[in-house]
Amino acid sequence: MAIAPGAWREVALSDAEYERILGLLGREPTPVELGMFGAMWSEHCGYKHSRPLLKTLPTEAPWVLEGPGENAGAVDVGDGLAVVFKVESHNHPSAVEPYEGAATGVGGIVRDIFTMGARPVALLDSLRFGPLELARNRYLFDNVVGGIGGYGNCLGIPTVGGEVFFDRSFNGNPLVNAMCVGVAPHDRLTRAGASGVGNLLMLIGADTGRDGLHGATFASVDDPESSHRGVVQVGNPFLEKLLLEACLELLEGDGVVAMQDLGAAGLTSSTVECASRGGVGAEIDVDRVPRRESGMTPYEVMLSESQERMLLVVRPEGEGRVRDVVRRWSLHADVIGHVTDDGMVRVRDGEAVVAEVPAELFTDACPTYVRDAAEPAEAAERRRFDPSTLSDLTEDDEAPGSVGAALLVLLASPNVASRRPVYGRYDHTIQTSTVVPPGAGDAAVVRLRGTRRGIATAIDCNSRWCGLDPELGARHAVAEACRNVACAGGRPLAATNCLNFGNPERPAGYFQLSRAVAGMGAACRALGVPVVSGNVSLYNETAESAVLPTPTVGVVGVLDDVTRHATMAWREGDAVLLLGSGVPQLGGSEYLAQGHDRVAGSPPPLDLDAELALQKLVQGAVADGLLRTAHDCGQGGLAVALAEMAIVSSVGCVVGEAPPPGATGRTDERWLGEAATRVVVALSEADVPALAARCEAAGVASHRLGRAGGDRLNLAGASIAVDAARGAWATVLGPIDG
């Protein structure tokens, strides 16, 4: 069948890309081949714009067991255990069908983890929405949260952490990034590359339907809502639970040499990945793929994104065992092809060959693009903002215009308020290993059963800072995620990233993407955390606007003794200190956004050497049992950090000493300005000298603030009942249950 003129544009290939395909093949592609090229050369699978940039990120360290290129990254955490983790976006599907989009996002990232032979032990989510005042945003928010819970709760994987941020730029473009962390013995780690000519390709899990056709290409174009509602997949977490258990049991024994889940571009990408990673060929027969609908064409079978499916590479003698194990989990397995030695991906429909292409043409030959980059003039203009034009706050009770009054407003900001209305809908106690649950500390801490160890994990990005300065903002994202892990007591080991950006074909979009990756690389190198996995989501824009650039960073760290961890809770009588040299300023702050409706100024500078010294000091003090209370100063600055600690502890504080001044000496910036490299700690008075000695030795600034105690928050001339602060903060995002 001939390809109709322009048909390639239907699968989001450009005219030049189609010409390239003609040249590589030396002939016209078949319709099935064209669809496969469209999927594999999409931004989602082919990383056309991001690959040259991603190559610049550090990926290696002695403890890295698996870097980018596999289904997920893996690091050694000691005791023969590997921690496997990755973050992935499901932005476009969630914009259209939020419940199923978010649910299948969780399903997809969980499959990436157990495909590696690891049991998933934790989920985190990084979410972005437009303001909740708009009904559409409230609908998206409620259903995304519902979908994450609906899928993760059913699988029995605790959702232990995450973040959510609201900004107008996410109107119509919500971001849904899901991260999964799993654990496996080193020798159980499984790769996805096929090997062994003659080995069988077996498909297990769900039958194949028409759902999700063209999902990968749809994620790679602007404005999904106007185009592709029907392509969102529907999740079946019950089936995924069975698939998870069956796959992990299969990997405990012999016979299965590789595993590859069917995600974006379904059977096409899984077959191509298996062949290209293994340096072999693969032949499959779509006629042997079990269907849930009649009349499906080979094209539809190859491009379906039906969920909960897994492709196994099995030694011929292992077929019987696979069938037995899979049957025990109420699933079925079908041999759909085998591994060949000719490097070709060959697709049959019974006797007919409907596609026959060298695997490398789908992968290595995918074009990459370096685009023109130009900073959007609007961002440069915003950065030039001068805060001295604004009236300052006073330290005067809670009178209008005082720090106290502004603090209560900030606590009620959707970007600061309690996340419990979100995580209260996620099961976070299942698996009985959650040591620091969501809301209690800066990072979640999960114990590793059978060892003394635990892992700390956090996911972060300040989208607003990235919008003002993508390079600096991305540095901050890495630093903040590491700082949060360190504050909980974890030694940061490695990072995973999810690059959420607008259209890279526009100079502004490419500027943001390329500068953010550069900043991320610099921070990862300085802090010693290689990037071991990740995902890219571009074209997050509608006709009206693009999203704030959001290079989300997930970090995993290890605690050698999980009983020595820190939360943000202090105790009556504790001394309260501020550690670190970060100088607060108003640029890009939550206070400027909420109090003055301004997103402007430059994000705070970041001294990565000072940051590393602070993180090491705090992490070491927690690991040595000296500190049990540590909290990063994030959005809303010092005053909000202190208020959060008081609320979580139900113990107030008296800040008797003035905190260090900010960049310009203003009162508002001292209390509500933001900076990196600042951590509030609390400890018994008797332990203060030991901590001070450590700070002295490490060259980390230490500043006494006051003492925890009572039931009021006494700072900046204000005296606010802890209950009143909690009241302002508790139910902004929704009701609290129980």
């Binding site: 029995g156 019950f238 209260g424 106690t429 009985t432 999980v562 009701p735």
Partner: protein
């Protein structure tokens, strides 16, 4: 020789391994997982139906699991007076199998709830509360979407009269109901027992409250009763 405690795994159960760890590793009672197709339960001293989403809870929570092959022998085990504990989804399965009265409805908020709660022990006359005293307050996690216990007035009156309400949601001081009854259970009921007392269903998760490191270990106070059950087994 006692088979210890059997923890029944239905397709979609996800609290089975937690219950196994709690019993075997934290309490120290022999225990193993029991596949939903097993039919010989005679050797066990007690059975636990764990939490989760059996068969996806797609029709109604627990409604399909009641047809699993293991349920008829479970029924026989219970009829002989064998101790059975259904936790969360296990409680839902026991009501669907009519081994316990009533039903678990959608939480009154229509949302999934995950938080720690207190429950007041209302009777010590079940094998699962034998080590506790009436009025004891336990702090346990809940994690459920369909957690609101419901029975008609007549049934609730009978449960009360026969002392078969096992636990009620309360505050830290043991005051029953009010905001502590977050899911909207009738009479703040968190757990009920069969007429003989040997079959107990409980919505909160004692198997998740097994270590102060996890936020509390009150669950052990209840689950330790399994030691007695297994020791008493001939």
């Amino acid at each position: 020789m006692s088979g210890g405690v059997g923890v029944i795994t239905f397709p979609g159960s996800n609290g089975d391994v937690d219950a196994l760890h709690a019993l075997r590793d934290d309490i120290g009672v022999p225990a193993r997982l029991v596949d939903h197709r097993e039919t010989d339960l005679a050797g066990f001293g007690a059975l636990v139906l764990p939490g989760g989403f059996s068969y996806g809870d797609y029709l109604r929570s627990g409604a399909i699991a009641r047809f699993a092959p293991v349920v008829e022998p479970l029924r026989a085990f219970a009829a002989r007076g064998g101790p059975v504990l259904g936790i969360c989804n296990g409680f839902q399965v026991l009501t669907e199998a009519h081994l316990l009265p009533g039903a678990l409805l959608r939480n009154r908020t229509l949302r999934f709830h995950c938080h720690w709660t207190h429950v007041r022990v209302e009777t010590a006359a079940t094998p699962w509360t034998a080590d506790l005293d009436e009025g004891d307050v336990l702090r346990l996690p809940v994690a459920h979407g369909d957690g609101a216990y419901y029975a008609d007035d007549e049934t609730v009156a009978r449960l009360e009269a026969e002392g078969r309400v096992v636990a009620r949601y309360c505050d830290a001081e043991g005051r029953v109901g009010g905001e502590a009854n977050a899911n909207g259970s009738v009479a703040a009921i968190a757990g009920v027992a069969s007429p003989g007392g040997n079959v107990v269903g409980l919505m909160p998760h004692p198997e998740r409250a097994t270590d102060p490191l996890l936020g509390g270990d009150d669950g052990l106070r209840m689950l330790r009763a399994a030691l007695t059950m297994v020791a008493a087994q001939v």
